[in-house]
């Protein structure tokens, strides 16, 4: 954080949030150490700190950052809780890695090539430790034509199709409706593991730098035990992480930590490729403001050419401030004006073509969401088992249920806690 004004960045932030950011940054053990000590002397709400770390998925990084040299200033119960949470995450991460290897072995034996990205392989590539990252599902890219076979193989391992990722409309009879170009999330109720199958097809809000044809050129191999696994090259991964974080307006600190750790662990990154690909796919502002954010908050060292590009575009600095404010915002953000989110996303795009595509995607997405909301769910089906020719009656039933649900929620907001007890 030598180039950016620390005090301004954290001026309106609760000390717990500042402590969290400083502990998970790349310089947690160097320059930040003194400031961490100062913060630990303040009257901190450690319950809130745990809550923030859970929310931002950085329990292992926080524990590592605090345990090394700062443990003596921490309440014993807090340290114990943090250690237990990290223990749990370690066992969970290793179990997920084991499952990933098993799934990939099955795919390999059926000649299905799969790229594993994010999840345990990102932990290994970026942090050199499979347990330093919190993740809840396994993301795999499979060729378009192999999606149905991959789904069938996962089903034979106890998974069931939880939802379709490509379209927000929930499909009812997924087995018969399996579409080869769609993407699916499958869950195993016994192990609790979710596998997401991606094929990089279908419309997206952001122009993706990779597509089903080009992604296979961006693969590198990682050796885990006796298995050699395909994953994305660090350059492609860095760009995808920036797009993913931007899509969610950097609401989670872990996403930024991933970018920082990936860059830090790959000192020979091909920045020319990253820049060129970002410019060609219209993602340059997405890349640059994300990198600026990682530099300001986590102390990532960027090459001079990247810093020059950051400096040249005034939108980049403005976007990073917006993203930072959103990252620091805690609590319920659902009520926040959609307009500010849209403005941010719109500003990340540079060309008219990409802006038009973004707006069209948002309109289509909202339309699909509305349709999804009106589709009957299991609850309506349980309320009244209607014969096939009367299924249209589920619509008024669904509308009635929604009316009851939302009016009760409105009442609860108006008369909180005990005034509506028993409602």
């Amino acid at each position: 954080m030598n180039r950016d004004d620390d005090r301004e960045i954290f001026s309106s932030v609760r000390p717990e949030m500042e402590l969290l950011v400083r502990c998970v940054g790349l310089h947690a053990h160097e320059r930040c150490s003194q400031r961490i000590e100062e913060l630990l002397k303040a009257d901190l709400d450690f319950d809130y700190l745990v809550q923030l770390a859970v929310q931002h998925r950085v329990i292992p990084l926080l524990e590592r950052g605090l345990a090394n040299g700062h443990a003596r200033n921490l309440p014993a119960w807090f340290l114990q809780e943090l250690r237990e949470l990290r223990w749990y995450n370690t066992l969970h991460s290793l179990a997920m890695l084991e499952e990933l290897l098993a799934v990939l072995r099955i795919f390999r034996s059926h000649h299905i090539r799969a790229i594993s990205y994010k999840g345990p392989l990102l932990a290994e590539c970026a942090y050199d430790d499979p347990a330093l990252r919190q993740f809840f599902d396994l993301d795999l890219i499979v060729p378009l034509q192999d999606v149905p076979s991959a789904v069938a193989l996962l089903e034979s391992r106890g998974y069931y199709v939880k939802r379709e990722l490509t379209s927000p409309i929930r499909t009812r009879s997924l087995k018969s409706d399996l579409h080869p170009h769609h993407e699916y999330a499958l869950s195993n109720p016994t192990t609790g593991v979710t596998v997401e199958l991606h094929c990089l097809s279908g419309p997206r809000a952001y122009a993706y730098p990779l597509n089903p044809q080009t992604v296979w050129k961006q693969v590198e191999t990682v050796r885990i035990g006796e298995d050699t696994l395909d994953t994305l090259r660090a350059e492609a991964m860095a760009l995808i992480l920036c797009i993913h974080g931007t899509k969610h307006r950097w609401a989670c600190l872990q996403w930024l930590c991933d970018v920082a750790a990936l860059i830090h662990s790959h000192p020979d990154l091909d920045w020319d490729w990253i820049l060129k690909t970002a410019f060609l796919s219209g993602n340059e502002r997405i890349l640059l403001h994300s990198l600026l954010l990682a530099r300001q908050l986590l102390g990532v060292r960027l090459p001079p050419e990247i810093n020059a590009h950051i400096h040249a575009d005034p939108h980049v600095r403005r976007l990073s401030v917006q993203a930072r404010n959103h990252l620091f915002q805690t609590g319920d953000v659902s009520s926040e004006l959609v307009a500010s989110a849209l403005r941010y996303h719109f500003e990340t795009l540079t060309s008219g073509k990409h802006k038009t595509a973004f707006v069209l995607h948002k309109i289509l997405y909202s339309f699909n969401q509305s349709l999804t909301l009106l589709m009957p769910t299991e609850k309506e089906r349980k309320l009244a088992a209607l014969p096939e020719f009367l299924t249209f009656l589920y619509l008024p039933l669904r509308l009635a249920r929604l009316a009851v649900k939302y009016s009760s929620m409105a009442l609860l907001r108006r008369y909180p806690s005990n005034t509506v007890e028993g409602f």
């Binding site: 370690t90 066992l91 290793l94 084991e98 430790d129 347990a131 035990g225 298995d227």
Partner: protein, 101 residues
Amino acid sequence: MSKEKTIGPETILRASQNQVSTDLQGETVILDLKSGVYYGLDAIGTEVWRMIQKPRSVKSILEALLNKYEVAPDRCEMDLVSLLEDLHANNLVVIHDQETA
């Protein structure tokens, strides 16, 4: 799982490749990818584990430990060999000569 006790001062060994391990507050959790069994190492075990990420002789590990800790050499060697034999019996370390032979 029982293996012949072949570990002596001149033995060169390293961590098996068929495992993943992670450092946890100075301790280590190891997952044997073949058996799916988890193992834990305490702080000293973790130091030894770090040293054998690359091929290393028992003698040099012993020297490193004796330089760092005030412990009787005989006791240290006995504990070290015992730990390495345990790891070897559970396929978590490989003896370098055996591997290259």
